[in-house]
């Protein structure tokens, strides 16, 4: 077993406006991207556990042109409010860095077309 950091070329979080947090997990090539995406490890359920939000509010996208997986969730608190710990949202990805990912592809799962819900640009 390996860690997500061994496969990804960039794992980042950032505000998508003051009310949303977005996670970008990018891979260096299509093969690595397919391997991690098909492993099913980076699931809606994992994101819900990591960010402590209900699974229903997690939006997960597979973005083939950039070999990337994108996850968008409501910010735990609005940016800049007293409880907020991360104004730009830049460090919230930390628990994902060492997520365990299989070395070899598991039973391939199809890349699903995910419903694109309404969002506004930042």
């Amino acid at each position: 077993m390996a860690l997500l950091r061994d496969f990804a070329k960039l794992i980042r979080t950032k505000n998508a406006g003051p009310f949303l947090l977005t996670v970008d997990i990018m891979f260096p090539d299509a093969e690595t991207y397919r391997h991690v995406a098909n492993s099913g490890v980076l699931s809606v359920e994992l994101m819900a556990r990591t960010f402590k939000v209900p699974a229903e509010v997690v939006k997960l996208f597979h973005y083939d042109p950039a070999n990337a997986i994108k996850v968008t969730i409501p910010r735990p608190v609005t940016s800049g409010s007293p409880e907020d710990t991360d104004l730009f949202g830049g460090q919230q990805f930390a628990p994902l860095v060492d997520v365990v990912v299989p070395d070899m592809p598991a039973q391939p799962t199809p890349i699903m077309e995910l419903k694109n819900e309404e969002t506004y640009p930042a």
Binding site: K14, N15, Y63, P82, P95, N116
Partner: protein, 456 residues
């Protein structure tokens, strides 16, 4: 000859800088315009609520001087969106004053359009009562008082405001709050290029030269749009775009990589294709734009109180070994002490927010290592109250209580916090809160924005 339009985005945000040499090399009468975004909500609600620019006067003036001189030299429009960071009227006027200073110092004459984006509150209330507001997800609860009492509300303008200003002969456009892409889509859309390509290109161009393979420092990007594709070329000769770098940039700060809303419709990038057209340039095609009823997004910042802060470090292993229980008891002590000082219950009249660095300062309850013994803990305390005086007094009380809070294993007076800054507590600027994440449907695109023209 193929119909095409070419334009320049010198940097990702006005005031962050760019190389003057590269900019001058890219400057040409072939360019249709220069556009630059100046805004961000990244700095939090105080930029809008408290009339604070995102970058310094000196930094913005440095960039603007180069851009104005360059645009006037080749006689093309210069368009700046979301002036002063938030695009609020104060922030917009702050940039307008800088423009006037530059014009005087450089002996330049031009016509400026100033597009204000703080809507008339009565008009907003009328729209609200007519049911023209729609909450985005997630959005705070609002009512009529929100629209009356919020310190500053801005409406993000679309491309039409820029088009109107240009039609009236503006050579420099200073816009209040704007969608980032509207700055760059306005002219290409008005000239009849395919809206999908215009808006997708604009979405990438608003970040200047950020969509390159490796961004060593902020530089610009040149975009050329035809009827079939748009092409991106970094201004810096040492930087290059790749299909991957451009596609990856589409993800940045967006909630959805396929669908991105603008005031008059939605960009649909589902079928966008990214191809190399040279070692440094990338062509994009297949982007679509679907028109929708005209809505603009509102942002609002409301003052919620006054603040003071304390920062100190705990290194005592006796405390760190039982940090959570020690800290829990401490919060009770602070509360009781503050009530005793004021001689009444202060519950509900102030708040203290703690960030415990080395413990849970960044991830809060999401921290997976909670329960482990930390090596040291940085305690950041921010007090907030209805007056600056009370906020400051409470920060001082809290600092004192943490400093001397009992550690069961030690006998005698302890000093639990290492303060790295003297004095050890101090006032902050007032606190603001983002209170709107709504769109409002308009009868026509310029309904909420006022344009005035100034000749220098």
């Amino acid at each position: 000859m193929t119909k095409k339009i070419k334009y320049l985005s010198p940097t990702g945000v006005l005031g962050v800088g760019f190389s003057e040499d590269h900019f001058m090399a890219a400057l040409s009468p072939d360019l249709a315009f220069i556009g630059c975004d100046a805004g961000s909500t990244d700095g939090g609600p105080a930029n809008l609520g408290g009339n604070k620019p995102f970058f310094s006067h000196g930094a913005v003036k440095r960039d603007l001087r180069i851009l104005i001189k360059g645009a006037r030299q080749v006689d093309i429009p210069l368009m700046i969106g979301s002036c002063g960071g938030s695009g609020g009227d104060w922030n917009l006027n702050w940039v307008w004053e800088i423009v006037q200073e530059i014009a005087r110092e450089e002996n330049l004459n031009f016509k400026t359009a100033i597009i204000e984006s703080e809507p008339d509150r009565e008009l907003l209330l009328q729209k609200y009562r007519e049911g023209k507001f729609r909450a985005l997800d997630p959005a705070p609860e609002i009512d009529e008082d929100t629209l009356r009492d919020t310190d500053h509300i801005v409406a993000m303008m679309g491309a039409e405001a820029y088009q109107e200003a240009l039609a009236n002969g503006a050579q420099v456009i200073l816009a209040g709050r704007s969608t980032d892409a509207a700055i760059f889509a306005a002219i290409p859309v008005a000239q009849g290029f395919p809206p999908g390509l215009c808006w997708h290109a604009a979405k990438i161009m608003e970040c200047g030269g950020a969509a390159v393979v490796s961004m060593e420092k902020p530089e610009g990007m040149i975009c050329t749009i035809t009827d079939d594709y748009f092409e991106l070329e970094p201004v810096s000769p040492t930087q290059s775009c790749s299909p991957l770098s451009v596609a990856a940039h589409t993800l940045y700060e967006t909630g959805d990589p396929y669908m991105m809303r603008e005031p008059g419709g939605v960009m649909d990038l589902t079928h966008a294709r990214y191809e190399s057209s040279s070692e440094r340039t990338v062509r994009v095609s297949g982007s679509a734009f679907h028109p929708e009823p005209y809505t603009v997004k509102l942002e609002g910042a409301k003052k919620t109180g006054y603040r003071a802060m304390v920062l100190g470090g705990v290194r005592d292993p006796m405390i760190l070994g039982q940090f959570d229980s020690w800290f829990g008891g401490l919060q009770d002590s602070i509360r009781n002490n503050i009530d005793a000082v004021y001689g009444e219950s202060m519950a509900g009249k102030y708040r203290i927010d703690f960030k415990l660095y080395g413990h849970s300062g960044v991830l809060a309850s999401r921290e997976p290592t909670l329960g482990q013994t930390p090596t040291e803990v940085g305690v950041l305390m921010v007090s907030q109250a209805e007056t600056q005086e009370v906020a400051y007094a409470i920060a001082g009380q809290a600092a004192h209580m943490v400093l001397h809070h009992t550690v069961p294993e030690w006998q005698g007076l302890v000093s639990n916090l290492a303060f790295p800054i003297a004095p050890h507590f101090w006032n902050l600027d007032p606190a603001y809160q983002f209170v709107l994440n709504h769109v409002v449907e308009l009868d026509h695109p310029l309904e909420l924005h006022r344009i005035r023209y100034e000749e220098i």
